[in-house]
Symmetry: none
Subunit: 416 residues, 2 copies
């Protein structure tokens, strides 16, 4: 079984965006045991797309075409594939109803272009788009190359690959080998250091396979095992997880693809009925907004303070002016006062405070990246920790938030 | 002039790494006015690489091959290209001396494979690698397709593209034509609607070209003109901008690739010495954190409030309990009180408030996506606007933030 990926989009050809869709699809095909020997990229040009399809179908059993399903004039993928196959486009009525409803809710009128997003190739299988409007398409043909058509926006593509496209391939190709993955999440260790500690395992990997992935300051490790049944695959995963955790378990904080540090911490707070607040200077609300992104957080988070200026630290949460004057805002003492006062004012179990220098400029003689994070945890003495980040303004702020979450996680763990 | 990019590497084919090299090279070729109509990816397989080259040289004037120059058994790119062209590989003595010295310094012995990295194609131009060992190669041929061979590790590739590869192309192709781009930014109109309004221009585009791009609720339009000199290119851009703005100028808010709505608004506040605060419920600090991401914001932003729970709205900013009881938290009245009180407490010129239903669940009988945004602007009457978003929790929160920024932008504009 050989597949080929064709990404469609002038913005990819011109390098305005990276072709992450092709990587995502390639990984998923590899996981099904389907080989990918070629990828192509063409612009929003029907002739060149047709040439690419003609070339691909000669050498591949499955052609996966990515992008060009949207409502604009550039979006021609389904039309080109249908014409190439000599088939018509037909309406997915459920998808059309969803599009019409979306327009109704948002008070706009439905154009002809918008309707195009509900079309799929006659005789194919329309794949619903849970994160957007344009449906995908799987055309399984007896004795000829198959076609899988997927939307371009990554949120839409990833969801469709996971929910319907890969299951459709599994069913069509009778792939019954069990493939199981487990994602382990780490914080406080970089991807390179993590990979080095697992170097021998990664080098000789066959089954299970190991893949590290770094994103926004966290590192994940995906272990994937193939076996004849579920139980055997689970056993392979368990054994590899043990080996891995013996080496890097100290940095482990949770399982799962979507289960980021904020979700893990907020869910622990909800489980334990621990309420939390924050007083934020350099992060300016990013910590609270991040815990606010987790559904259900309202049970443990009443609100909090953004004390960006020194005056707000005094005015909103009554950090004594002489503490600020004596130690400066970028100091252990200010961080401790901020956490203590926030906890007291909102009568929560926990308060986290952030004060420091996001950059690009220095502050009070401290270089960009100097951050104090305070933690007031139940009846324990209030503490503050110093960090030195060496990234840009946004990443310094984000690393502060992650380390604040990690302090809360460790406090909960150490108490239990 | 037409170029084609071939990336070589099984790790790209399998999706283990993103093909960022291709984007980088594509952007640089575009900047020289060299069209890229095709990209290919093949694995570390000499036959398939040769096939890809054969296809590419038929339809392109320049073939850029990325990766496969290293010292391992997989690295065969230069050998395949040389054989394809019927040329020998010869030693770049300076590169070989550098490699030998590196091995001497690190106390290892030089292997035969390591020597391979100093080879280039006879008659070509060896391109030094300042961030690694393997040299690149530019083969400029009279009356036949040219070849540019670049290393795979991004640090090495980027440096070589900037320092020697693009200058070599400029010289070989006598590129002195000026290519100028201008990015126009829009908010409050979707990509589809915007493209529809420019449909005829997009259809017949030649010079300047038009490209729309949607990201995180904003839409950008890139106009790119080619001309013999800077002034002529600017004139083409000006003319097209006028035509475009006559149709969609109402949604325009700024210029530039990086200049997002938050940057535009914060910089207007700084310019006009207008201070701002916020009281946030469903956005939980995301508005403040977003304006906090802009360097220099400390001049106009003292801090603010996250009033997630109803109790915090009363406790932190003294929204009267009977307002909350009578109208609910998701109401015009609560939004107005929140903005008014936040402005008063921090004595700012402007306050924005957010209260609503992020989702996934409904609240007080209002469906997810119902949001009230309040605006207290200088001495004007405090107002609140109702929105209905139809996205997921995170996107509903983000759209709220963008609309809050836009309200501020419009208030500033209408005052002046």
């Amino acid at each position: 079984m050989q597949a080929e990926i064709i990404a469609v989009g002038t913005e990819i050809l011109l390098g305005q965006i990276d072709n992450t869709n092709a990587s995502y699809v390639a990984r998923n095909l590899a996981a099904l045991g389907i080989n990918v020997f070629h990828q192509q990229v063409v612009g929003d040009n029907p002739e060149r797309l047709d040439e690419a399809i003609t070339l691909a179908e000669k050498r591949s059993d499955l052609v996966v075409v990515l992008g060009g399903l949207g409502p604009t004039r550039d979006d021609l993928t389904k039309q080109v594939v249908a014409r190439h196959l000599g088939r018509k486009l037909v309406v997915d009525e459920a998808a059309l109803a969803k599009i019409a409803n979306h327009y109704k809710v948002t008070g706009r009128s439905l154009g002809n272009n918008d309707r195009l997003q509900a079309l799929y190739i006659e005789g194919g299988q329309s794949l619903p788009n849970y994160n957007g409007m344009a449906v995908g398409d799987f055309v399984h043909q007896a004795n000829w190359t198959d076609f899988l058509v997927l939307p371009g926006p990554p949120r839409e593509l990833i969801d469709m690959v996971d929910r319907t496209a890969m299951p459709a391939l599994r069913a069509a190709y009778h792939i019954d080998q069990r493939l199981k993955s487990r994602v382990l999440r780490y914080f406080g260790i970089g991807e390179a250091a993590l990979a080095q500690k697992l170097d021998d395992l990664i080098t000789k990997q066959t089954n299970p396979t190991l893949a590290t992935y770094a994103k926004s300051g966290e590192v994940t490790l995906r272990i994937t095992a193939t076996a004849s049944d579920d139980k055997a695959a689970t056993k392979l995963l368990d054994e590899m997880e043990n080996t891995v955790q013996n080496r890097i378990g100290a940095y482990f904080y949770g399982y799962g693809d979507e289960n980021d540090l904020a979700s893990v911490v907020v869910n622990q707070l909800i489980d334990r009925h621990l309420t939390i607040t924050a007083a934020e200077s350099l992060t300016a609300g990013l910590f609270q907004s991040t815990i606010g992104s987790v559904p259900g957080v309202s049970a443990v988070f009443p609100g909090g303070f953004v004390t960006y200026a020194a005056s707000a630290k005094h005015q909103l949460i009554a950090v004594p002016q002489d503490v600020i004057d004596q130690y400066g805002v970028v100091s252990e003492q200010t961080a401790i006062w901020m956490a203590q006062q926030a906890k007291r004012l909102l009568a929560t179990d926990i308060a986290v405070s952030f004060t420091g220098v996001a950059g690009p400029d220095e502050l009070e003689g401290h270089p960009a990246g100097t951050v104090w994070i305070g933690l007031a945890y139940r009846n324990q003495p209030v503490v503050a920790h110093e960090y030195h980040f060496a990234d840009d303004r946004q990443l310094n702020r984000w690393r502060s938030v992650l380390n604040g979450l990690d302090l809360v996680r460790r406090a909960i763990r150490d108490e239990n």
